[in-house]
Amino acid sequence: MCLGVPGKVLSISDDGMSAQVDFFGVQKELRLDIVDVPVTVGDYVLNHVGFAIRRIPPEEVGETLALFDQILKEAAAGDLMAEDVRGEMAAGKGGGESGRG
C-alpha cells in the first residue's frame, strides 16, 4: 500500500524541518516532521510521499539479512527433520503431518 524508498541524508535545513536526501543519484527534499528519531547527515531514512517516516539504523540492515539467513537455516534443518520423518513413514513407522489446520 505504501511506496517507501530508502535514501541517504545529505544535509539538514537550518530550522531542522527538512533534509536534502539522495536516492542513489537523484536528490529530493524530505520533511522531517514525522520521522521517529532525530536524523543526522549520513543517516538512511525511509521516504513516503516526501516525508521521512523512519531513520533506518545501518546495523539493522545487516540484522535483517542475518534474520533471512537464520530463516533459511531453520528451514534447512526442518527439511532434514522432514526427511527423517519421511524415512520413518517409508519404513512403516507412521508420523508426519496430520492434515489441514
Binding site: K8, I34, L65
Partner: protein, 376 residues
C-alpha cells in the same frame, strides 16, 4: 555508483533462489495447499514486479487481500472530489487516484471537462499550490493508509493557508485484516502484514489480531528477499500452528512503531466506519478528520453536490460485486456476474478490477490466470 539498493542487497538473486527453494520444500512437506493473504497493494506490486509469483510453489496460494487503499476507495468518495472540481475548486491528489472511477466520472474525466485537477507527489505540494493561488480553493483529496495519513496530519498541524482543505479518503490497515478474518468461510491460514504501515503503527498492533483469530502474521518489506523470507516464515508458522506475530522487516519496523507520527495522526484523525468498494461496510475502515478540524474538512466546509456530476449515494452495481469473496480466495473472477460486462478495466466496479495487479484486472487483460511456469 554506490546505491542504497546495492548496499541493501535485498534483490540478490542467489539468496532469492535459496529462499524460494526452501519455500518449495516447506510447502511440499506440508503435503497440501496452503493459502496465505497479503493485505498490501505494494506487496502485490513487488510480487508482480519481480515476477515472484512464478517462483512460488504450485500448492501455495498467495492471495491479494483488500489492502490497496486506492482500490477500496468507494464511488461516493470519488464523486465528492469530482463534484468539488466541477464546483470550481482546484483538486490535488496522488497519481493513483486520477483514473479511479466514481459513479459516472473519474477525476481524469473531471479534468477533461475543464476542471482543475492536479497530480501531486506530496501533500506539501498541494499546500504550496494553495499559498501560490490565494484566490482559489485548493482541496487535497487524500488517500492512503495511516502511513500516508500521517503526512496529511503533519501538514495540518504545521499550519495551512485559509484556502486549503482536505477531503479524506484515508483508510485504516487493521480493518483490512479484520474484514477477511470475519468472513464466515475463509481458508486463509496466515497474513502478510503491510510493512510501511507497520513502520508507523508498530508490529505490536497485530498481536491481538493473531491471538483472537489464531492466525499467524508476518510483517514484511517490499524487496524480493523481504517477500520471499516472509512467505517462507509464514508457511513455517502455519505448519507449526503457531499463531504468532513475526517481524521480518526489522530494519524499518519496531514493536512500538513511530511514536511521534502516531501522536500526530490521532491528533488529526479518528477511525470511523465506511464503505469499501466491492467489500461493503467496514466498521473501522476509514480515517476522517476529527471535529476540531472541521474548518479544514472539505466535507464540512462546502456543500458538495455529487448529484450534479452523476453521483449516487450508493453504488448499486457494487452490491453485486463479489470482490470480497474473490479476495478471500473462495471465488474466481469468472464466478462474478459483472465480470467483463458491467465491470471492466475502463469501468471497474470493484477493487479487484481497479488495481493494476488485482485478480479481476489481470484475468480480464490476459484472458485467464497467467501461469508462466511452463513457458520455455
Amino acid at each position: 555508483m554506490a546505491s542504497p539498493f546495492d548496499e541493501l542487497k535485498f534483490r540478490d538473486p542467489e539468496r532469492a533462489r535459496a529462499l524460494s527453494g526452501a519455500l518449495a520444500r516447506e510447502v511440499e512437506a506440508a503435503g497440501r495447499t496452503i493459502s496465505l493473504m497479503h493485505v498490501c497493494g505494494s506487496h502485490e506490486q513487488a510480487i508482480a514486479r519481480f515476477g515472484l509469483r512464478a517462483a512460488f510453489p504450485r500448492n501455495l496460494d498467495v492471495i491479494m487481500g483488500p489492502g490497496c487503499p486506492v482500490c477500496v476507495t468507494d464511488t461516493p468518495e470519488v464523486d465528492e472530489a469530482v463534484a468539488l472540481a466541477a464546483q470550481g475548486a482546484r483538486v490535488c491528489t496522488y497519481g493513483d487516484m486520477l483514473r479511479l472511477p466514481g459513479n459516472s466520472k473519474s477525476l481524469a474525466d473531471a479534468q477533461s471537462d475543464g476542471g482543475n485537477v492536479e497530480v501531486v507527489y506530496s501533500v506539501s505540494q498541494a499546500v504550496d499550490l494553495a499559498r501560490q493561488r490565494p484566490a482559489e480553493q485548493v482541496v487535497f483529496f487524500a488517500s492512503g493508509f495511516e502511513t500516508t495519513a500521517v503526512a496529511t496530519a503533519a501538514v495540518l498541524l504545521s499550519g495551512v493557508p485559509e484556502n486549503f482543505s482536505v477531503l479524506s479518503a484515508h483508510k485504516y490497515v487493521p480493518a483490512a485484516m479484520d474484514v477477511v478474518s470475519e468472513m464466515k468461510e475463509t481458508n486463509i491460514e496466515g497474513f502478510i502484514a503491510a510493512g510501511h504501515a507497520a513502520t508507523i503503527t508498530g508490529w505490536g498492533i497485530f498481536e491481538p489480531f493473531a491471538a483472537r483469530t489464531r492466525t499467524p502474521v508476518v510483517v514484511a518489506g517490499f524487496e524480493p528477499l523481504d517477500v520471499l523470507a516472509a512467505v517462507l516464515e509464514l508457511v513455517r508458522l502455519v505448519r507449526a500452528r503457531r499463531p504468532e506475530v513475526m517481524n521480518c522487516y526489522p530494519r524499518c519496523v519496531s514493536k512500538e512503531g513511530n511514536g511521534p507520527a502516531l501522536e500526530k495522526l490521532w491528533k488529526v484523525f479518528d477511525v470511523v466506519g465506511g464503505n469499501w468498494r466491492g467489500i461493503a461496510r467496514v466498521p473501522r475502515g476509514n480515517l476522517e478528520l476529527r471535529s476540531e478540524w472541521d474548518h479544514v474538512n472539505a466535507r464540512r466546509r462546502f456543500r458538495i453536490d455529487t448529484a450534479a456530476v452523476g453521483g449516487a449515494s450508493r453504488n448499486v452495481l457494487a452490491e453485486h460485486c463479489i470482490c470480497g469473496t474473490i479476495m478471500s480466495g473462495l471465488a474466481k473472477p469468472s464466478d462474478c456476474t459483472l465480470f467483463g460486462k458491467e465491470c471492466r478495466p475502463d469501468a471497474p466496479v470493484g477493487a479487484c478490477m481497479v488495481s493494476s495487479e488485482g485478480s479481476c484486472k489481470i484475468w480480464h487483460v490476459y484472458g485467464g490466470p497467467p501461469d508462466l511456469r511452463e513457458v520455455a
